[in-house]
Structure formats: structure tokens, C-alpha cells
């Protein structure tokens, strides 16, 4: 039972280390899925906006952790 608990907790830990970081990524994926198509952007711009947003989330989270 203890072993199963460890494995399940490890499984969750695969994706979530810092809750705020994981939530920001999920929120950005949701915003891209819901809002970007409604903005009327064409070509590769939505994909680039999505990517740049992810880079910003990564950098902000690492810097925030470094400040602690």
C-alpha cells in the first residue's frame, strides 16, 4: 500500500513540481485554445504567441524561484 502510494505520488510529481508553474502552463494552453482563434490572427502568429508565452512562463518561474 505504501509502495503504491509512493508510485502514485511519483506519478503526480512527474508533472507538478511547483503548483504555480504547472497552473500557469495549463492556463496558457487553455487561453491559446479558447481565446487565440477568436482574435482573428492568421498564419503562424498564434503558434508563435503560444510559444513565446511558454518561454515567458518558464523564465519567470525560474527567476521567481531564484529570488527566494
Amino acid at each position: 500500500m505504501n509502495g503504491l502510494k509512493t508510485i502514485l505520488s511519483e506519478l503526480f510529481g512527474l508533472f507538478v513540481d511547483d503548483a504555480g508553474f504547472a497552473l500557469a502552463i495549463l492556463a496558457w494552453v487553455a487561453v491559446t485554445a479558447l481565446a487565440v482563434p477568436r482574435l482573428g490572427l492568421h498564419g503562424s502568429l498564434p503558434a508563435l504567441i503560444f510559444f513565446v508565452g511558454l518561454l515567458a512562463i518558464l523564465m519567470e518561474s525560474a527567476l521567481r524561484r531564484a529570488k527566494k
Binding site: G3, I7, L14, F21, L26, A47, L54, A62, L63
Partner: protein, 250 residues
């Protein structure tokens, strides 16, 4: 019949190999500690049993996910892969910047040896402590490998074989290193490997989410290279900025 997109097969095999290498090295450290203190029968028995469970999970999950519509798999699995890849990348950045400690295989080995030596020994039959410890570490580290293999195999549309080949190659390399060295593999630059894997998995996750959402990537499949380069550049910049911030804060 599965068709393999060779444009993705190479990077998938590489990501599968490197990610599995890191995980198997971590498992090897504990299995070696179990073998050295409690005997090899229990150490190898536990690891072998876990490997059988992990192979069964890949064989069940892999082909099942391939039956789900590709865009749904790409969005779902891509999101998980992105969470996974960016978590690794963030941790690798913080380790490279000296914010959190590097993983120390020799220290982990010494701790495991001390713990396992303090427990009562078994002279006959299977040593339950040895089997359980070896099984647990192989499952815990192996489940990450399984996730990467299944995710990359499914989201890439028929890439299970190249991803699995990468993982099997890593397993063979680690077994060979274990047999040759009989001690933890501490000379491999683990954080550099994690950095590379984080970049690769994040690039794949981003690409597949985009594909699942119907976004148009510039250069189509070639954009994977741009995504990887972007993540690498942002990570290198982050390491430098984090070092500066940490120095300013201390």
C-alpha cells in the same frame, strides 16, 4: 499498420534514449546498493519484476492510445509532455545556476547502503527488503520512462517503436555500465542530460499541442528545431539571470 515518420523518429529515439538513460542511472544506484548489501538475487529479482510490469504497461497503453483520434491525443499527451518537459527544464536551470543542489549518485548510494545494512538480514529464500526496494525504485524511475515512451509514441502518430528502441538502448548501456563499474555512475553529466531532455520534451510537447489545436507552425515539422533552439536559448539566458538574482538576494 503503423507508419513511421522518420522526420520525427530520430529526435524521438534520441529523447527516449537520453530520458531513459537519466532514469535508469538513478535506478541503478539503488539496485547496486541493494545488491551490495542484501545480495544480488533479491536486487535483480525486484528490478526484473518491475521491468516486466513496465513492459506490460507500454504494451497495453501504447497501442490503445494510437486508436484515439490523433488531434485529441496530441493535445492531451502534448500537455502532459509539456508539463513534464518544462518541469525538468526548470529544475535543470535552477541546478545549473546553483539554486538547488545537483543530484549526487554517490551520496545516494552511501545513504541506501547505510539504510539497507541496518535492517535484519535473511539467510534463506527471497529477501523481501531487497526485492521490495529494488522493485520500488525500478517502478518509480521506470514509470517516467514509460510515460515518455508512450507519450512520444502516441502523440507522434506511430513513434512507439523508435521511442522504445531509444529506451532499450539506454537500458543496455546502463546494464553494461553497472556490470563494468559495480558502483554508481557518477561521471555522466546528469544535469546536462536533464537539460537536453527537458529541451527536447518541451519542444515536442509544444509542437503537439499546437498540432492538436490546429495552429500553423512555420516550417511545419522543421519548427521542432526552432522550438528546441528557442527553449535552449531561453534556458541558457535563465541560468545566467538566475545566478545574478541569487547573488543579489544573498
Amino acid at each position: 499498420m503503423l507508419t513511421i515518420d522518420w522526420g520525427h523518429a530520430g529526435p524521438t529515439m534520441l529523447a527516449g534514449f537520453l530520458a531513459s538513460l537519466v532514469e535508469f542511472i538513478e535506478a541503478l544506484t539503488v539496485v547496486l546498493a541493494v545488491g551490495a548489501t542484501r545480495g544480488w538475487k533479491g536486487a535483480l529479482g525486484g528490478a526484473g519484476l518491475a521491468m516486466l510490469v513496465l513492459i506490460a504497461i507500454v504494451l497495453i497503453l501504447g497501442p490503445t492510445l494510437v486508436r484515439i483520434p490523433l488531434d485529441l491525443v496530441q493535445l492531451g499527451v502534448g500537455t502532459l509532455l509539456l508539463l513534464f518537459g518544462l518541469r525538468w527544464l526548470r529544475k535543470a536551470i535552477l541546478r545549473a545556476a546553483g539554486i538547488i543542489a545537483l543530484h549526487d549518485e554517490e551520496k545516494l548510494f552511501a545513504e541506501e547502503v547505510a539504510t539497507l545494512s541496518s535492517l535484519a538480514r535473511v539467510t534463506q529464500g527471497w529477501d523481501r527488503v531487497a526485492v521490495a526496494t529494488s522493485f520500488k525504485i525500478t517502478m518509480v524511475e521506470g514509470i517516467e520512462v514509460v510515460f515518455i515512451i508512450v507519450a512520444m509514441g502516441a502523440a507522434g502518430g506511430g513513434l512507439l517503436i523508435p521511442a522504445s528502441v531509444g529506451a532499450i538502448a539506454a537500458l543496455l548501456v546502463v546494464i553494461a555500465l553497472g556490470l563494468a563499474l559495480h558502483k554508481p555512475v557518477s561521471t555522466i553529466p546528469e544535469n546536462t542530460l536533464k537539460f537536453t531532455v527537458g529541451v527536447l520534451l518541451s519542444a515536442f510537447g509544444t509542437f503537439w499541442i499546437g498540432e492538436g489545436l490546429g495552429l500553423a507552425w512555420p516550417g511545419e515539422d522543421w519548427s521542432l528545431l526552432i522550438l528546441g533552439a528557442g527553449y535552449l536559448a531561453a534556458s541558457i539566458l535563465s541560468v545566467s539571470l538566475c545566478r545574478t538574482k541569487a547573488e543579489a538576494a544573498s
